[in-house]
């Protein structure tokens, strides 16, 4: 077989596979998906796909809520609200989230009984719900207030104030535990409420019930708004039964794909970490710091494996969350879209973690873009990109780990964060320059060699940078820098 014939055959196999998997494009499937039996099959497959990762009751609640929302469309807002807050209260009440672990740690510090964690968390969660209701009403009545115009800044200021008071030397015992509990419970909502507040000021806002139902919605009880806010969700809602069927079939495909990625991640760990004894990145840095570094090839393998696991982790959880949202009829873009095909750093930033990028653009890039350097287009674009990919990125991660201030103190928490600050600054500079190049008309070559070059450049850059962006706070900036330099044989 000639090379071109072999290539054509491979391409034909790929397109055959694609056709086979494209159940959302086949009339027979689309019709069957609209029948009661089809709906039951979709719900059962989704349940099986989710249960192993979210937990059984969470999966039952999420699938039941999603399927109910598409059956009783008139009650969608009420279903969304009930499922979202039932999930939040049940998770807290049953002791199933990291907020409780954080509260328990502070209770230990203050020598208070662990049992107080759940009542404290439930109480503050209730206050967050009531506070959100009041905030949305306030914004409707006072559209020119600070909260309405700068929701994220206001909420971050509130968080900083609470942290500041909780850190005062005179505050101890129960008051300190209560203040930190408030911070831990409020923290995730800081990234959801601004979308609801911005929507309240729009020409055609969603109902308050809908807005409240999208604060950490039942499909993604995380720190990141997968699906953004109610305005984005409303526009993406399937409009016809056929459209809904296609969206739900896409949901099932995405949930199954998420499971395939989970399996791939486990296989990588088994093969490389467990069988071939490739160390984890943290262990490789530890060994280097201890003066007993691994061989260069092993250290590189540890780094590449760590980056691969991170990429899989981002993709599989994003697919799981978006899959559930699609099950509820929302035609949402994927959370991670073929990142290996990124041609530029800008492209990578767009594809790798879509909803994180959207959050940063909506609340850091856009406000900066309209405020500064309006007569210097390139500087304006670069600076706004830097604010999003650098400042916003760093701030989100620092706030996510806000409990470190309570356990380590502000100084030490900042010190352990220094390498992530460098990570954010370098990433932002790279993305900003990439954005500028794109605006100047530079396009990566579409040839095979050009594609290989783009792939190598983008992934070499982000993999090397991953040493600084690694989520652990165990190594100093100096240790990470030395480790990076050692990978090139200079140390």
């Amino acid at each position: 077989m000639t090379p071109s014939a072999a290539g054509a055959s491979r391409s034909s196999d790929t397109s055959r596979l694609r056709r086979f998997l494209a159940i959302d494009e086949r009339e027979a499937f689309i019709e069957r998906a609209q029948t009661p039996l089809g709906q039951l099959a979709i719900a059962l497959i989704a349940l099986l796909a989710i249960a192993g990762h979210l937990g059984t009751w969470q999966a039952v609640l999420a699938v039941a809520a999603a399927m109910s929302a598409v059956i009783w469309t008139n009650a969608r807002a009420a279903i969304l609200f009930s499922a979202t807050w039932l999930m939040a209260f049940l998770e807290t009440g049953l002791g199933g989230n990291d907020t409780l672990d954080r509260i328990t740690a502070v209770l230990h510090q203050e020598q208070l009984p662990d049992a107080a964690a759940i009542p404290l968390a439930i109480g503050w969660l209730l206050l967050v719900l009531l506070g959100s209701v009041v905030a949305l009403q306030w914004v409707r009545r006072k559209p020119q207030s600070m909260l309405a115009r700068r929701p994220l800044v206001t909420l971050l200021a509130l968080e900083a104030l609470l942290c500041g008071v909780a850190s005062l030397s005179g505050v101890a015992g129960l008051p300190r535990a209560m203040l930190w509990s408030a911070v831990f419970v409020l923290t995730p909502y800081i990234w959801f409420l601004p979308y609801a507040i911005v929507d309240q000021r729009s020409r055609d806002p969603n109902s308050a019930l809908t807005q409240l139902g999208t604060l950490r919605p039942f499909w993604s009880p995380s720190y990141l708004p997968f699906g953004k806010g109610a305005a984005f969700l409303r526009k993406s809602l399937s409009k016809t039964p056929a459209e809904l069927a296609v969206t739900q079939l896409k949901a099932v495909k995405l949930l199954l794909w998420a499971n395939a990625l989970f399996a791939l991640r486990d296989a990588l760990i088994w093969l490389f970490n467990d069988t071939l004894q490739i160390p984890r990145l943290g262990d490789a840095i530890d060994a280097f710091v201890a003066g007993q570094p691994y061989a260069l090839s092993t250290a590189w393998a540890a780094l590449i494996l760590s980056m691969a696991k991170l990429s899989l982790q981002i993709a599989m959880w994003a697919h799981l969350f978006i899959g559930i949202a699609r099950l509820a009829g929302y035609r949402l873009p994927r959370g991670s879209w073929r990142p290996l095909e990124s041609r530029t750093l800008m492209d990578y930033f767009n594809r790798f973690h879509y909803y994180f990028k959207e959050l940063l653009v909506d609340f850091f890039f856009v406000p900066t873009f309209f405020k500064v350097f309006r007569n210097h287009q390139r500087l304006r674009m670069f600076f706004a990109t830097f604010m999003a990919a650098g400042v916003g990125n760093a701030l989100w991660h620092f706030v996510r780990d806000i409990d470190l201030i309570s356990t380590l103190g502000l100084g030490a928490a900042l010190e352990t964060f220094s390498s992530y600050l460098v990570y954010s600054a370098v990433l932002a500079t790279g993305v900003g320059l990439s954005q500028l190049r794109a605006n100047l008309g530079h396009r990566p070559s579409a040839t095979l060699a050009g594609r290989i070059y783009s792939f190598c450049f983008v992934w070499w850059f982000v993999t090397c940078l991953h040493i600084f962006g690694d989520a652990s706070r165990d190594h100093t900036l100096g240790e990470r820098t030395s480790f990076l330099v050692s990978l090139f044989g200079f140390i």
Partner: protein, 84 residues
């Protein structure tokens, strides 16, 4: 908005959708940003385009994505500024 300006705007949006890997056609009333067909960075590029081509001063407006979400929205925005 003149017919010529509108077709130029549609051409701009067509190119933006192509860059985004979206070959499907779009109607004037169709949502482009809130529907997820174009992302926030594309929105900012559109803002620059509207500032340059139609002298829209976004700093004087209370920016909201609904202002530029569809061709009709953009047309209404440009017309309202022109009539001031």
């Amino acid at each position: 908005m003149h017919t010529q300006a509108k077709s130029k705007l549609r051409e701009y949006l067509r190119t933006a959708l192509d860059k985004h890997g979206d070959p499907h056609d779009f109607a004037d009333e169709e949502s482009l940003f809130l529907s997820g067909r174009l992302d926030s960075f594309s929105m900012m590029n559109l803002v620059v385009y509207l500032e340059t081509e139609f002298s829209v001063d976004f700093s004087a407006l209370d920016f909201d994505v609904n202002l530029v979400d569809s061709v009709n929205d953009i047309e209404a925005l440009v017309d309202s500024i022109a009539s001031r």
